[in-house]
């Protein structure tokens, strides 16, 4: 869109690029430490990045999973209580841009939610969603966003899930989890255990494939389903 350019301020690049450059640093240094050919790896990465900036619409074939964000530790009485109760079942307490989140191990995730609801006043499950990182050992991250009406606090509970693993459904704690978890199943193929109705919600029941996985192409669709049910050839 050409109108996007017009009033863009002069000194545009300075803050922004510096910030993203800084965020990249730990990733690169880690890559350098791990890889056997650090210089080559770096050289390969640089041109890829610049070409991407030039042609933003074109997606690189395989996107790298985010290596890590510049988080700060999250401390407070709630964190202390959770640490005391769950010990090393919770592996991380962090904040980023004011958002607080914790990472729990999969078997403990349900117990953490249960505790947060029953004893810490997190009475409102805002959202359940997932992110797919194909390069990671456990490729999925399931995220519950919780809010506490009495304390006006919002936190995220995250857990890593491997292909085929089933996190326990939060449906028995929050009725809102019912549809939200079905959507996660629909889009990512993560089946929640003990969910009363683990079926697709937005896509047709017979649909094959999980669209929000990274290996699912943007124009990909279940062509057989389209042919059979809509009597048309896929337009793409």
């Amino acid at each position: 869109m050409p109108d996007e350019e017009k009033p863009a301020p002069e000194g545009v690049s300075s803050d922004q690029d510096a910030a993203s450059e800084e965020a990249k640093k730990p990733a690169e240094s880690r890559a350098a430490a791990g890889a056997d050919k650090p210089a080559a790896a770096k050289a390969a990465e640089k041109p890829a990045a610049s070409s991407e900036a030039a042609k933003p619409a074109e997606k690189p074939a395989a996107k790298k999973a985010p290596p890590g964000m510049a988080t700060t530790p999250w401390e407070g009485p709630l964190v202390d209580r959770l640490r005391e109760r769950f010990g090393d079942e919770i592996t991380e307490f962090s904040t980023y841009q004011g958002d607080q989140f914790l990472v729990a191990k999969l078997p403990a995730a349900f117990a953490v939610l249960q505790y947060l609801k029953a004893d810490e006043g997190f009475d409102y499950l805002v959202d359940v969603t997932a992110v797919h990182y194909p390069e990671k050992g456990k490729p999925f991250e399931v995220i519950w966003i919780l809010y506490s009406h009495p304390h006006n606090v919002r936190i995220r509970v995250k857990t890593e899930v491997a292909e085929g693993e089933s996190p326990r459904s939060a449906d028995s704690l929050y009725a809102s989890a019912n549809w939200l978890e079905r959507e996660v199943y629909d889009m990512f193929g993560i089946a929640f255990a003990e969910h009363p109705n683990m079926t697709r919600i937005l896509l047709p029941d017979e649909w094959q494939g999980y669209p929000l996985r990274k290996d699912y192409s943007i124009i990909g669709q279940d062509e057989d389903w389209v042919r059979e049910n809509l009597n048309i050839e896929s337009g793409q």
Binding site: P7, P56, K59, Q97, P211, L212, I218
Partner: protein, 370 residues
């Protein structure tokens, strides 16, 4: 199982929709009935699914901005505000004050137009035909302001990451104030038509009750939870875009029924007028766009940002991998989550009430299905 009636009728399964005038789009509700009584419902959704979240992963942040208008298309400005706030949080961008105030004014105008559309169609569903003409007459004036500001009436794409694209037009302030003065008596007019109307009261009082505990359990937000009596509004609880600098009340109900939700929304329109007036009064001069790189490239990270949209809590969960495109963008749609409580609200009521209850949740299927 239902108790046997004197006719000993069997359970009847009735399909309502997807093409049905009172489902506000393409919502299919499967009703399990015992005579006129609803034993249970099941929603079938997804007819309007366009894969918005997938599209986001394949567009740059800037390119995706207009897409959000197509979710809740009667409150496109609110969608855009939520999206821009999330992207700004992710990129650490500060928005100049003038842009913030203009955003608030337009968003509140949008809240009024969204509520007007809801009121008109909801009354129409229940059988009051007159209000819809009045509502559309007033809504037209809001859309005219949008059109003068950005050239579009419905899918406005009014905001950009970092601020605004357009400076306000010459008579923007006067138009807003004129609208406020002219609009307030109109709200009284609607209330005269409906609030004490015996048919309206009979059709809405005690219908589709959802108490606070149920609201929390089902994750319901917005006017529906306020009608149940919880004074909770994200504009006050977790202010954004400078809402902490405005004086307004949070209207609440008590019974949590269809009638209270109607009253709450009527009051909200009056409160929006208050906010618009304050916004116009304090509209400062200055730049309308913060410092944003031409190629917007937020650092690696993830944020969740939500706003009080006309229908409830609208949230965006954004994950950045440091490139120009979102690695993952999740939209937390208020309509989708609120619709989940439909079954709870319908059980035990009459078939005719289902129409009233679908209307009172105020859903837009474009947002439910995304």
């Amino acid at each position: 199982m239902a108790e046997a009636t004197f006719l000993d009728t069997n359970e009847l399964v009735l399909n309502m929709g997807p093409q049905h005038p009172s489902t506000h789009g393409v919502l299919r509700v499967i009703l399990k009935l015992d005579g006129e009584k609803v034993l249970g419902t099941e929603c079938v959704i997804g007819y309007l699914h366009r894969g918005v979240e997938k599209i986001a992963e394949n567009r740059t942040y800037t390119m995706f901005n207009p897409y959000v208008d197509r979710m809740d298309y009667v409150a496109a400005v609110s969608n855009g505000l939520g999206y821009c706030l999330a992207a700004e949080k992710l990129g650490g961008i500060e928005v100049p004050e003038r842009a913030q105030v203009v955003r608030v004014i337009l968003t509140e105008l949008n809240r009024i137009s969204s509520h007007l559309l809801w009121l008109g169609t909801h009354a129409l569903d229940i059988g009051a035909i007159t209000p819809v003409f009045y509502c559309f007459r007033e809504r037209e004036e809001v859309l005219k302001i949008f059109e003068k500001y950005c050239g579009a009436r419905l899918t406005t794409h009014a905001f950009r990451i970092g601020g605004l694209q357009y400076e306000t037009y010459d008579t923007f302030e006067q138009d807003c104030l004129k609208f406020c003065d002219w609009f307030l008596p109109k709200v009284d007019e609607y209330e005269e038509l409906l609030t004490t109307n015996r048919i309206w009261v009979a059709r809405t009082k005690g219908v589709g009750i959802l108490n606070i505990e149920d609201c929390k359990h089902y994750g319901v937000s917005g006017p529906v939870i306020r009608a149940a009596g919880l004074e909770w509004d994200l504009r006050k609880a977790q202010p954004y875009s400078g809402y902490e600098g405005y004086e307004f009340d949070i209207p609440t109900g008590q019974a949590g029924d269809t009638y209270d939700r109607y009253i709450v929304r009527m009051q909200e329109m009056r409160q929006s007028v208050r906010i618009i007036r304050q916004g116009v009064e304090k509209l400062p001069s200055g730049p309308i766009k913060g410092k944003v790189a031409k190629v917007f490239k937020p650092p690696i990270g993830e944020v969740y940002q939500s706003i009080e949209a006309p229908k409830g809590e609208l949230g965006y969960f954004m994950v950045s991998d440091g490139s120009t495109q979102p690695y993952r963008l999740r939209v937390r749609p208020p309509s989708f989550v609120n619709l989940c409580a439909l079954d709870r609200m319908c059980r035990g009521s009459l078939v005719a009430d289902v129409v009233a209850i679908i209307g009172t949740i105020d859903i837009v299927l474009g947002e439910v299905d995304r």
